[in-house]
């Protein structure tokens, strides 16, 4: 009997987290005499900041059973899917596959999606796409664990996820094996205790086939060799897109099949009342995500925004652009369209979104380069709480 787990994570800053979890599964399964493999979704170094990426673990009773899963890029029928950042529940697009992949697409019918989140399962379910089959959704309470580029943030998320996997898929790995493997690998009883706690506390919500986000995710059909242009030639994307109803303004042409927005963990909320139309956000955005409206405002297009936060950093007007946790939003609709329709209602909406910033602010590679600044500052003042 074989079992497989995929970990969906955000590139670079959760790479080691993903690897810790999948390695942990294989090492724990080994305690039961099983064999296994742990591997990342191979690509051309796809792990740019925030881009969805995956790690996998497959375990089997025998080497012969495991062979069917070797020399493959992705297991496609997983017992458990882990999302170590709840914004991934909106679906993932990467440089390794095409179109928007719902978080539960590679979860087998009857399988489980586990999410590390401060939200409830019901709230997360609004983001997860309908599966058309029964599945389970479990929450491991906690904020998304983002490490630094070179430094691993050991906040026990790895072992908590391992403990939860043991609960929802004991045929993949049992809690006793997880505990034994943690002792071997990390030699840390505190981590063992964290795994056991997660095991005891994880709750599952049964999800019906017709529950979840009803939207049909965008897809892309791979071309046949006869349909592809020869000479590795890709026609350019038109420079400008026409926008129905616009007189003036400018929306740049964008790739219709690679939208990139699932890279986003935060999005800019713009106060159009105080915007001075200085153009700096528009010029500095590395993804040309801003549409220039006919009124000369700059509207971040949510199909193209990667959430890097450059616009907030460069905007010279205080509180004009504020980055807000992506989880606070239900769709990708235009902020400027809402503002134009009803400025007062937009102002109330934006104030509401921005209000929670303190509690929902999250790590972001561009902004924090990892979450160890506090520790460094503490060490500099002699107030070092990070040591043993």
């Amino acid at each position: 009997m074989t079992g497989s787990v995929e970990v969906v994570y955000r590139g670079i800053f959760q790479k080691h987290l993903g690897q810790h979890i999948t390695r942990g599964i294989v090492l724990a399964a080994r305690k039961e005499g099983k064999v296994g493999i742990s591997f990342g979704r191979y690509g051309d170094s796809p792990e740019r900041n925030g881009i969805p990426a995956k790690s996998f673990a497959v375990v089997a009773d025998t080497a012969e059973e495991l062979e069917a899963h070797l020399a493959r890029y992705e297991p496609t029928n997983n017992d458990v899917t882990i999302a170590v950042d709840d914004t991934l529940c909106k679906g993932v697009e990467s440089w390794a596959w095409y179109g928007l992949q719902p978080i539960n697409r590679l979860t087998r019918a009857g399988g489980t999606v586990l999410v590390t989140s401060m939200q409830t399962a019901d709230a997360l379910l609004k983001d997860c796409h309908r599966k058309g089959a029964e599945w389970n959704l479990g929450v491991i309470p906690g904020i998304a664990s983002f490490s630094g580029l070179w430094v691993y943030k050991d906040d026990h998320t790895d072992v908590r996820v391992l403990g939860a996997i043991a609960k929802v898929a004991p045929h993949v790995v049992k809690i006793e094996s997880v505990e034994a493997a943690i002792r071997d690998e990390w030699k840390d009883e505190l981590k063992v205790a964290s795994a056991r706690k997660a095991y005891d506390r994880v709750n599952l919500r049964r999800v019906r086939p017709d529950e979840g986000n009803p939207e049909k995710p965008y897809e892309f059909q791979l071309l046949k060799w006869q349909e592809m242009k020869e000479g590795l030639v890709i026609p350019g994307i038109p420079v400008k897109q026409e926008v129905p109803g616009w007189d003036g303004g400018y929306r740049p042409g964008r790739n219709p099949t690679f939208k990139k927005f699932t890279t986003r963990t935060m999005r800019p909320v713009v106060d159009f009342e105080i915007c001075t139309k200085c153009t700096i956000c528009w010029l500095q955005c590395p993804d040309s995500c801003f549409d220039v409206t006919p009124t000369g405002h700059y509207d971040a297009n949510m199909e193209a925004c990667c959430g890097c936060g450059v616009c907030e950093a460069v905007c010279p007007v205080k509180d004009c652009i504020t980055m807000v946790n992506e989880q606070a939003f239900e769709d990708n609709s235009s902020q400027f369209a809402a503002y134009e329709k009803d400025p007062a209602a937009y102002k109330a909406w934006a104030t509401e979104k921005i209000k929670d910033k303190a509690s929902t602010a999250r790590s972001h590679g561009f902004r924090y380069r990892g979450q160890y600044e506090d520790e460094l500052a503490a060490a500099a003042t002699g107030d070092d709480k990070t040591g043993d």
Partner: protein
């Protein structure tokens, strides 16, 4: 300076020139746009000849002295992408130094023309002829042809431009020319008129694949496992189409110039009734043909098959010519250490081509003429006698022989 102001003889003119100078004449007549140069013997005589033509006002092209062979090929690769007709060349380890640029070119479908002045690969530092340099690109999507006279070098260069630049093909093409024997010997060559060449060779038109601000395209993005196989298949199809385009092009060449009306792919020399046939490519054909005549005078039915094109490999011709023979000997001016029977590249290709025949001749491999060593009449006699004995006994004593090696 525009081409129109250049002196254009109304008809063919006979000149006493080397193989490299003959190629330079072809480049002048093809009105190439960009040529890159980096010296290495024996290819470098072509770059000198082109420089002289430009300096004398007989030719107009951008002549770029590159900082290495790698740059040489990168520069023409990019020039070709923007629609320039280009030429460059190298020899031996110089060609190897360009290997990265050579490897990436076929998938980009850029119709470069290159001359490989065949030279032994160092070490030891040597400048005599071996074919291993050019053969290194044999699997990559380069078309490869070998010439054995200066006349054929000139004519083949014109033919190669037309084949390579055919939109159905768009593949790079290399001409193998044996160092010293062809590159550095002057023989009488008929140099066609501009008017003739203009009738034969259309302008290079890259169409919607041309890099130009008015045609915004991306060329050669990264591709994962979902795309590469389809891209390789496209190259495979282009190389398959090359055979028909080569045939049509030779037929047109014959109409305009009155030469090369015979088979474009191979030269059959006294093979029709031959009991045994030697196979080879490049200038060794000259002494082998003399040797074959000598054997014929002694009453032995020996023939010779010269491959003119190596990629695409002329399967029907090789099968057709060799099926009738009792024994075949493949003369390799190259080596493929550790390959089947420890023989040469050509041997293994020819032998593989014969596998599907119902009745297969015995095939011997002859490693001969390495490092530019002459292929002598005695060598030809020795090889012929091995084959004749094989034909008589029906048994090949050993699969591979080193001919002319001391020891």
């Amino acid at each position: 300076m525009s081409v129109a102001t250049l002196a254009t003889p109304a008809a063919e003119k006979e000149m006493l020139i080397s193989g490299c100078a003959a190629i330079a004449q072809a480049l002048r007549l093809a009105s190439i746009d960009v040529v890159t140069a980096y010296p290495i013997r024996p290819y470098d005589t072509v770059m000198q000849a082109v420089a002289k033509l430009i300096a004398n006002g007989e030719m107009d092209a951008d002549y770029i002295v590159a900082s290495s062979e790698h740059d040489q090929f990168e520069i023409v690769k990019h020039a070709s992408a923007v629609g320039a007709r280009v030429f460059c060349g190298s020899s031996g380890v110089g060609w190897m130094y360009a290997m990265e640029a050579l490897a990436v070119t076929p998938a980009l479908r850029l119709p470069l023309l290159a001359l490989v002045g065949n030279r032994a690969l160092d070490d030891p530092g040597a400048f005599g002829c071996e074919h291993n340099d050019a053969l290194c690109v044999r699997d990559l999507g380069w078309m490869l042809t070998w010439v054995d006279t200066a006349q054929e070098a000139l004519d083949t260069a014109l033919i190669c431009y037309r084949v390579a630049e055919d939109p159905r093909i768009f593949l790079p093409c290399a001409i193998g020319a044996d160092g010293a024997f062809l590159t550095h010997s002057e023989t009488l060559v008929k140099v066609p008129s501009q008017e003739q060449v203009d009738r034969f060779l259309p302008k290079y038109d890259r169409g919607d694949k041309q890099l130009h601000p008015d045609n915004p395209i991306t060329v050669a993005p990264q591709a994962n496992e979902d795309w590469v196989m389809e891209i390789r298949k496209q190259n495979d199809e282009a190389m398959r189409r090359a055979r028909g385009v080569i045939q049509d092009t030779y037929a047109d060449f014959q109409r305009v110039f009155g030469r090369h009306g015979d088979n474009p792919f191979v030269e059959e020399y006294l093979t029709e009734d031959a009991d045994v046939i030697l196979v080879g490519q490049g200038t060794l054909s000259l002494s082998v043909k003399v040797g074959v005549r000598k054997m014929r005078q002694q009453g032995h039915k020996v023939g010779f098959l010269r491959l003119k094109w190596f990629r695409p490999f002329p399967m029907p011709e090789v099968q057709g010519a060799l099926a009738r023979a009792k024994a075949v000997g493949v003369v390799d001016r190259d080596y493929s250490f550790g390959s089947p029977n420890h023989a040469g590249v050509l041997y293994n290709e020819v032998r593989s081509a014969l596998y599907d025949l119902d009745q297969r001749p015995k095939v011997a491999g002859f490693i001969c003429g390495l490092g530019g060593r002459e292929v002598t009449l005695d060598n030809v006699t020795e090889m012929s006698e091995i084959l004749l004995k094989t034909a008589r006994t029906g048994r090949l004593e050993q699969p591979n022989y080193w001919i002319g090696v001391r020891g």
